[in-house]
Symmetry: C2
Subunit: 390 residues, 2 copies
Amino acid sequence: MDDLKKKSLSNHEKFKGKFATHSKIKINSIDDLSWAYSPGVSAPCEAIAKDCSLAYRYTSKGNTVGVITDGSAVLGMGNIGPDAALPVMEGKAILFKELAGVDAIPLCIDEKNTDAFIETCIRLAPSFGGINLEDIAAPKCFEIERRLIEALDIPVFHDDQHGTAIVTAAAMINGARYLKRDLSSLDVLLIGTGAAGNAIAKMLNHLGVHAIQAFNIDGPIHPQNTKMDSATRSLLDEEILRPASTIDDTLKTLIRNKDVVIGVSTGDLLDANMIRSMRPNPMVFALANPTPEINPEIAKEAGAAIVGTGRSDYPNQINNVLAFPGFFRGLLDNRVHLVTEDMKLIAAKAIAATIDDDALDAEYILPSPLDKRVVPSISRAISDHIKTSR
Amino acid sequence: MDDLKKKSLSNHEKFKGKFATHSKIKINSIDDLSWAYSPGVSAPCEAIAKDCSLAYRYTSKGNTVGVITDGSAVLGMGNIGPDAALPVMEGKAILFKELAGVDAIPLCIDEKNTDAFIETCIRLAPSFGGINLEDIAAPKCFEIERRLIEALDIPVFHDDQHGTAIVTAAAMINGARYLKRDLSSLDVLLIGTGAAGNAIAKMLNHLGVHAIQAFNIDGPIHPQNTKMDSATRSLLDEEILRPASTIDDTLKTLIRNKDVVIGVSTGDLLDANMIRSMRPNPMVFALANPTPEINPEIAKEAGAAIVGTGRSDYPNQINNVLAFPGFFRGLLDNRVHLVTEDMKLIAAKAIAATIDDDALDAEYILPSPLDKRVVPSISRAISDHIKTSR
C-alpha cells in the first residue's frame, strides 16, 4: 500500500470519519429548550404547514444539500456499493462545508433499481434545498437526473457529469485564451462517453465548440456503431458530436490533426506518436484517475502546449472541487429551482476568470481548488445572471 | 400569538434553522484534499467494500443517527406533513448533538404509505449507526418500527413510544420510591393508547406493574370494545392491560380507587372530583401537551401526592429529552444491533437513579433535561448491561 493510502486509512480511523453535525444554537437553559424544541417549535411548524416556502425562512433547508449516491460508480472503483461509498460522500460533504459553507448530508442509498432510487430521492426532498447526485453509473445517471429535475422544484445536479464538464470547459477557455485560439476553431477528440464525457460534449457545444468527434470502449462514435447507448446516440442525433469519418476509425486515426484531446476514460491509452500526430501546440486533457490517459511529461515532450490531468501532483488539475461548492453556493443563495445550461457555462467562465492575464500560463490555466476566490467568483456570477434574467 | 411563539419564530428566522453540518478536519492544503478526498479516499472505500463493518472504523456511521419522520403526527399538531415537521426534526438533531455528542440527521420523508416508508428507511440505512423514528402516527408507527427492526442490523427506536415510556417509567420508579410504595402493588389507569400509551403499558408491565386498566377516545379498553385497533387489542390479549370491569365503564368509574393515573391523551379531561375518588396520595402524570389532562395545581389541591406533566413550567417534567440522547449514546458506544425491553428499563432506572434519596421530593422525582449526569448515567448503565450479558 502506498504512503497516501496508509495516511488516508490512519486519518480516517483517527477522526472516525470526517463528517459531523453541529447545532447553530447552544442549549443552556430550559428557556432555550422551550423555544427551540417543545413547545415553542410548534410556531414555525404551523407557519410552514400553511406555506411550505417558509421552510426556507425557519429551517436550515435552504442551505442544505443531499449528497446522494447508490455506490454504483465510485471514483475509479466502480460498483462497490453504498456502504463503501460513504467515505467519498463524507469527503464531498465536508468540502461543501469548508469551501462554501453549504451544509451537505452524505446519503448512501441501498437501491440499484433506477425507478426505486428516483422515488427515494423524491421522498427525501423536503429536507433539502438541493440534491447533488454522486458516483452513479452511466447510463442510468442520465435518466435519474432527468426525472428528478422534472419531479422536484429544488436544483438537482449530477456532479460526475456537470462538475467535470464545468471544470473541463474552464480549462478549455483558459487554454484557448493562453494560446490565443478561437474556441469555435478547435477540432476536439473526446475519449470516453460516460457520465463525464456526455456532459463535456454538451457543455463544449454550448460554449461554441462544434467540431467534436468521440471514441469510447466500443470504438468510434459513428452512426453504424451498434454498441452505442442511447445517451451517446443522442449526442450524434443532436449534432453535438460529429460522427467519426468511418466506422473503422481508431484512436490513432481520430486523434490526427486534432487541436484538443480530452480523455475521461482509462489510463495509458495514448502515446507520444499520437500527440505528435495532432495539430501544432495541442491541448491534452488526460483526466483518467489515478493514471491519466498519457503521462503529462510524455505529452509535453511530444509537443503538447498545455496538459491538464485529474491529479494534484501535476499542474492544471481538472478537479470537480473547483466547481460544485461555488456552484451550489450560487444556487442556494438565489433559491434556484432549476439548473440551466447557461448557469453551468457561467460557472466555467467564472472559474476561468479568476486567473488574470498576467498570471495565465501553460502550467497555470486553472486556479487551485483551495483558492479562496473561486467560490465567490462562481456564486456571484450566478447571482448576477439570475438578477439580469429575472 | 403568545410570547414564546413569537420568540421561537424570530429565533428560527435569525439562525435560519438550528441544524448545520461540521467538518472534523480542516482542508488547508492539497495534501489534506489528497487523503480526505481524491485520490486517497479510495483506501477506506476499498477496505469497506471488502468488510462493510469497517464503515464503523473509517466513517462517521457509528456516531450518526437518522431522525426520520413522515410528518403524520407532529407534536400536538397531527398530520402536518414532512415540510412542516422539519423544525421538530432539526430540534431533535441538535439536542442529540448538544446533550450527547450524537451526529443526528433530520430527514422528513414525503411518503405516507407504510410499505413505501419502510422501504425508504431500509434504503437509507447504510449511512446510519441507528434510526430514531419520530412523530409517526399510531397505529402505523408500530408496524413501521417492527418491520424495520426485523430488516436492519442497526438499532431502531420510535421515540414517541419508547422515549416517553422510559421517562414515564423513571417517574413511576421515583414516585413509588418517594411514597415508599411497591410498584407491583399499584393500580394504574392509563388514558390514551396511541404510540406513547402502548409503549408505557408494555414498559410498566416489564417493570412489574400488572394492574393497569386503560381508556381511550373510544371508551374503556375491554374485549367488547369493537373500536380498538389491533395494537391495543394485543395489550389485552397479552394481559399487559387488564380489561375494564364492564364495557360501560367511564373515565369517572375507571379512575376510582386507582393509585396512579397516566394521561397521554388530551387536555382538561380530568377534574378535582376524579382525583379525590382515587386512593390516598395518588400519583397523577398528565402528559398531554401543551394543556395537561388536569391543571397540576388543581390535582395537588385535590390530594395528588405527586404530579408530573410534559411542561417545563411545572415541576416533574416528563420529557423524552431525558431519555433519547443518553439512550442512543449507549447504543452507539456499544454498537448495539437490537434494542431490547431490558435496555429501555435499564435506561428508566438510570434516569431515576440520578436523584439521590436526600434530594428526592414530591416536586423533584425527575432530573432536569439539562442535568449533565443524565446522559452518562444512561449510557454507562447500557454499557454495563451489554458487558454482563455478553
